[in-house]
Symmetry: C2
Subunit: 324 residues, 2 copies
Amino acid sequence: MKLTDIYSRKKKEIDYIEKQLEVAIRTDYPILYDASLHLLRAGGKRIRPVFVMLGGEFGTYDISKIQHVAVSLELIHMASLVHDDVIDDAKTRRGQLTVRTKWDNRVAMYTGDYIISKALLELTNLNITSLHRVMSKAMVEVCIGEMEQIRFFYNADQRLRDYLLRIKRKTALLLAVSCQLGAVATGASEYVSRKLYDFGYYVGMTFQIRDDILDLCGTEKELGKSPGSDLKQGNITLPVIYALQNPELNLSIREELKRIQAADGQTDVTKVIEMVRNSDGIDRADQLAQRYIAKAIAALEGLPDILAKRELEQIARFIGERSY
Amino acid sequence: MKLTDIYSRKKKEIDYIEKQLEVAIRTDYPILYDASLHLLRAGGKRIRPVFVMLGGEFGTYDISKIQHVAVSLELIHMASLVHDDVIDDAKTRRGQLTVRTKWDNRVAMYTGDYIISKALLELTNLNITSLHRVMSKAMVEVCIGEMEQIRFFYNADQRLRDYLLRIKRKTALLLAVSCQLGAVATGASEYVSRKLYDFGYYVGMTFQIRDDILDLCGTEKELGKSPGSDLKQGNITLPVIYALQNPELNLSIREELKRIQAADGQTDVTKVIEMVRNSDGIDRADQLAQRYIAKAIAALEGLPDILAKRELEQIARFIGERSY
């Protein structure tokens, strides 16, 4: 099963949100519009809008309200991608040229700032101050997460909790907030929106761990790039942290990391990938992902038994599935 | 007279805002805090907070409300500076190392994003949705203004209205919004806050024109950098646009601009500065600045005759004064 099958009931509304995203970034200023549209057309799973919509079904569902939260969250996500591409000197993303490649770093930076501003403007269509509070708090954390990632580049001494806090900020928080704010926008109870936040958070943790495993275990075809791009960048992910805990591997992985860092990532990383794959790092990372999925599903308990609840559970199970 | 003399009545409150700015950027994440604090300590005229405070006196003045708007606007301004420095490859600003020089471009970019997020979070301390609407609309325009500036680099065919629209977005809007939102936060009438917006807009236009004239006419000591930095960057300002309207100068200025562009700004710009200084460009730019100040003062008519009104008029006259 694909994620898109689970989305099928929401197909029409997802298409509607897609159009609203285009409306939201509209401006008569050509470069900003073209760059934003390029970013939008590069696609993505639109998991944040889907979470907003499903969260919204726990209150008095109203797509005219939901849409603003969904658009705003997807825009914030897009803005973080375009700024990340500048930082990472990324040439492509999802097989498309990045904004910084097609235009330049200046355009990418201001396009990011522009999209952030449009995301906030979108939210002002609803008269709920708490939306702004939750969103801006999440944005602060996302920025700290991005900086954390840089700080821990090539650091073989980082702890499991450093990694977990980082992926919470970098990924899980925006998914948590998506579920939560969908519910807030439709007037669901505090209890329900808190549970949905927890659900989104746990799913987000799994999502990032899966992504990090895939970067080590996926094929070039699956990834759209060669495996090990995280390692080349210095980003030490969960399977590597676990592999480093193995005394027999620790020293040789450290040496490889030093070598990669000295080459500024412009080197073959097959050896360290092999070491991690042959360790128990992948299995242990997978087990942690499973535990998060169990927590996500547990968070749904106590919520009213509506279709959206069962779909959220399906999405969680799908994200938890091992595909490598 | 200095601007700080006009501020004297507000000295205590400006110091308080200064402290609140430090509180607002606080985080236990070291680099982001250090970089933000570095930016804050680099100083500035804090004209946005002063406009917020004076605007606030037209309603039911309450510093506990005012402070959030003042802090938010100054932070948005700071964030735009740190991102501009990345774009401009600026080594120093106000005689201090820029964040991108002291740390690097990555830190500068995320520090900017972080400060934007903190600015928005600050605003959520007030339960007024319209603040968010006005602020995010202004931010959208500021981004377009920054892009506009890049688009028109070295373009000798740009029109007066291109320049005016650009400095409106780049500078005047945030000053307009500062005056306006101070009044909105203290519950002043729609009429009053609109008039204050107009005042801030006209003062902002003058402010930028003055700044652009000074870059051509100031001494190295006054500017803290050699004159003509706008020209080196390709930024064609009002006096140059006027000078280009002189048929006798047009061709030679164009040639100089082409030469500067070909050298990517790494060349002597004395010749074109001299041509502009010897043209009527400076005088005509000055006359336009005077007209904007007259409009600013006219915008204050019809507002209640309180001390803040007379101080705003003083500030406007001060900004309008010719100092070269």
